[in-house]
């Protein structure tokens, strides 16, 4: 790639950052045009990314990996960290995803947030997010990546709690922030281990020498990276924040909590691929976490009546697929990223569709109060329908190509692993079909349940304005065609090869035609059950009594109770006892000492008569003593 192109890399981060800074610093004066500035910054970023991408496509595969350094960031003797940007197919994939989907969502937000007093601030945060996310994927070392990592965490926190005058929203933001901190500790510890083992933090050194390192160390680093990924990507056991994060505005849920930020964990693991390959145990744990989370999210998704929370559970589950693929080694990396990209499109589309439905339903999110909206919101119904088919994995939609590849790959290997992971992925596909169909049918098919109950007369569902429609249409087009376009001739896999390495094709333990057939069968069965229950049968407007598993799924399989019992209560008890110890032992000790000094001072103060002559006498006495001592010492010596 040319040096001019390389020098553009910092502008990918700087452009949205400048946009955010302008919007935040100029303040209310920019209220009238601020949102368009945000859109402009995001679009400009996309254009810069496109220029770099075209340049990268023009060179041979071997020359597509390059770094561009702005300068030295930290210089501490033998340890230096550059302010360096890594340009390669993997990071460019993310750049395109983030800037393209991000720009669409910026446009969508112009209309969606048009009645919000703080729209300018919203766009400032969106721009901040884009900048931080691009820094995360473009960094050429773990420390700079960490800056972006924290930046997206900050933007996520600010946007979840955007309507912070409502207490639950503020609490949700706090929850996301705190749980992300747990993951961040993992990344920090991983960086410490890298520094201690390799003496550097840049990808080149760390990943290049991972193979030669002690396996215990790499396993530890791998597990810590997994912890970080779990925090950011809402995987077990740090998954609890994602559902509450839906308190943020819907465009935020679409961009940050579906398409981009939550996939940063997958990026981290794929980027650290050589490290994980040097630690098979850690790799296995990654796959297990992925498999568990994909089932967990799918089960929770089946019971949720809140349209956004159902989608959030789905996101969790789909990222579980990606984690599973990332845990399968080089053979899975490309598919993880492939699914990540297609998922970014169709899930963002689904969320925007959900936003459109909420827009029509006066911000109601309870699917039991929806129904029969297809006629009234035709564009929304069609775009969401396309997204629905994509996530189901119906050929030839995007999800079919990406998800089926992961299921196939899960069946590759020896021993018990292919059977367990393969079965989990297969089951997950069936459950996904059920809950996504449930979501779709509850919203668009069946009776018009929003006509039942209070306030029904006031409701006049209507299609959203053009600024919201067009992003949905574009994303729907992506949901339909992206998978096919990228899969043709394994184009995407080859594109990523400079980063993920070439993986030999291995045969799964079951024949491929059988796996595809089984998957499609399960999908059809799941969708059929959902159709019977939610499109044909009457849907009650309040949740009916249900078996224990469903009740548990309605409350996220008791994830908050588990966290509270295992972490929060013991933590609170610990802090309380430490406060008590601090008060009774430490404070009392020091206060006692201070009081003692004070009393000593008061006692000494009694000696002060205020008479200058007495002070002079003391001075003279001191002088006499000093002379005497000097004299005695001098004569003695």
């Amino acid at each position: 790639m040319t040096t001019q192109t390389l020098s553009l890399a910092p502008w990918l981060v700087a452009t949205p950052l400048i946009g955010a800074a302008l919007l935040l610093l100029v303040g209310r004066r920019s209220d009238r045009w601020g949102h368009w500035l945000g859109v402009l910054a995001s679009t400009a970023t996309f254009v810069i990314g496109l220029v770099i991408l075209l340049d990268m496509l023009g060179v041979d595969a071997e020359q597509r990996v390059a770094t561009s350094s702005v300068g030295t960031w930290i210089d501490a003797g033998a340890f230096t960290v550059d302010l360096g940007f890594q340009l390669d197919p993997l990071s460019m994939t993310f750049v395109m995803l983030v800037s393209f989907v991000g720009t669409l969502i910026h446009v969508y937000s112009v209309a969606y947030m048009s009645h919000d007093r703080d729209r300018r601030r919203f766009f400032a945060y969106l721009n901040l997010f884009v900048a931080a996310m691009l820094l995360l994927v473009l960094a050429d070392n773990y420390l700079l990546l960490f800056v972006g990592w924290e930046g997206v965490g900050l933007a996520s926190y600010l946007l979840i709690g955007f309507w912070d005058h409502k207490l639950p929203n503020a609490v949700a933001g706090k929850k996301a922030f705190l749980m992300n901190r747990v993951g961040d500790m993992g990344l920090i510890v991983a960086m410490m281990l890298m520094l201690a083992t390799f003496g550097a933090l840049d990808f080149g050194t760390v990943l290049g020498s991972a193979e030669a390192a002690d396996q215990g160390i790499t396993t530890a680093i791998g597990l810590m990276l997994l912890l970080a990924a779990c925090g950011k990507s809402a995987q077990l056991p740090l998954q609890a924040w994602l559902g509450d994060a839906m308190a943020g505005p819907t465009p935020v849920s679409a961009l940050i909590h579906a398409a981009t930020m939550v996939t940063a964990g997958v990026y981290l693991l794929v980027r650290s691929g050589p490290l994980l390959e040097a630690a098979p145990d850690a790799q296995l744990v990654v796959a297990i976490v992925g498999a568990l989370t994909l089932l967990f999210g799918a089960i929770v998704g089946c019971a949720k009546d809140d349209i956004k929370k159902a989608l959030a559970a789905s996101t969790m589950s789909q990222i579980g697929y990606m984690m599973l693929a990332a845990g399968l080694g080089p053979v899975g990396y490309a598919f993880a990223i492939f699914h990540l990209v297609t998922h970014g499109f169709f899930k963002a589309g689904l969320f925007l569709g959900a936003g459109s439905v909420m827009h029509a339903m006066d911000d109601d999110v309870d699917m039991r109060r929806f129904g029969g909206l297809a006629r009234l919101l035709p564009v929304t119904a069609i775009t969401m329908g396309l997204g629905w088919l994509a996530i189901l994995g119906v050929p030839p939609f995007s999800g079919f190509y990406s998800k089926d590849k992961i299921i196939e790959t899960a069946f590759v290997g020896e021993g018990w692993q292919p059977w367990v992971f393969g079965t989990a992925a297969l089951l997950g596909a069936g459950i996904t079909a059920y809950y996504m169909s449930r979501l779709f049918f509850m919203t668009f098919a069946g009776r018009r349940r929003w006509l039942i109950g209070e306030g029904a007369e006031a409701r006049h569902p209507h299609e959203s304005p053009a600024l919201m429609i067009w992003p949905m249409i574009i994303l729907a087009v992506g949901s339909v065609g992206l998978g096919f376009a990228l899969n043709a001739g394994d184009r995407f896999v080859h594109w990523l090869e400079p980063v993920t390495g070439h993986a030999e094709h291995e045969e799964p333990v079951l024949p491929i035609w059988l796996i595809v057939s089984l998957t499609l069968l399960l999908v059809v069965v799941g969708a059929a059950i959902a159709f019977r229950q939610y499109a044909v049968a009457k849907v009650p407007t309040t949740p009916p009594p249900a078996p224990a598993l469903v009740r548990a799924a309605r409350v996220d399989l008791h994830q908050d109770d588990v966290n509270e019992t295992l972490v929060m209560r013991p933590g609170q008890y610990l802090t309380r006892s430490m406060v008590f110890a601090d008060r009774t032992a430490v404070d009392a000790g020091w206060l006692g000492l201070a009081g003692g000094v004070g009393r000593l001072g008061s006692w000494l103060r009694g000696w002060q008569s205020g008479y200058a002559r007495q002070y002079a006498a003391i001075t003279l006495g001191g002088l006499g003593v000093i002379v005497l001592v000097i004299w005695l010492v001098a004569t003695a010596g």
Partner: protein, 99 residues
């Protein structure tokens, strides 16, 4: 006669000046005690100069005199100011420095 006799005289004068500072309550007399101590020091300096054949001792005594003159100006001005404010020249009346 030994030159040390001058030193003994200086010591006695110095001690008498110091005692004056300690015992007298009239600020002006206290100040005179201080002047006496300075003079005693000067005597010692002059004697040492003679003893060592080095005239620098006299230079030092000269500087002491100049500084003492400056000190007297300021000191007496302070005494006058205090007297104006409190109608008293007793050091014991200025005892606000106590607890």
């Amino acid at each position: 006669m030994e030159l040390t006799n001058y030193l003994y005289l200086a010591v006695v004068l110095f001690a008498l000046g110091a005692t004056t500072v300690l015992l007298r309550r009239n600020t002006i007399v206290v100040f005179m005690g201080i002047e006496l101590m300075l003079n005693a020091t000067n005597l010692a300096l002059v004697t040492f100069a003679r003893m060592h054949g080095d005239i620098t001792g006299q230079v030092l005594a000269f500087f002491v005199m100049v500084v003492a003159a400056a000190e007297v100006v300021v000191g007496l001005a302070i005494i006058v100011t205090i007297f104006r404010a409190r109608r008293s020249a007793s050091v014991d009346d200025v005892n606000l420095l106590k607890s």
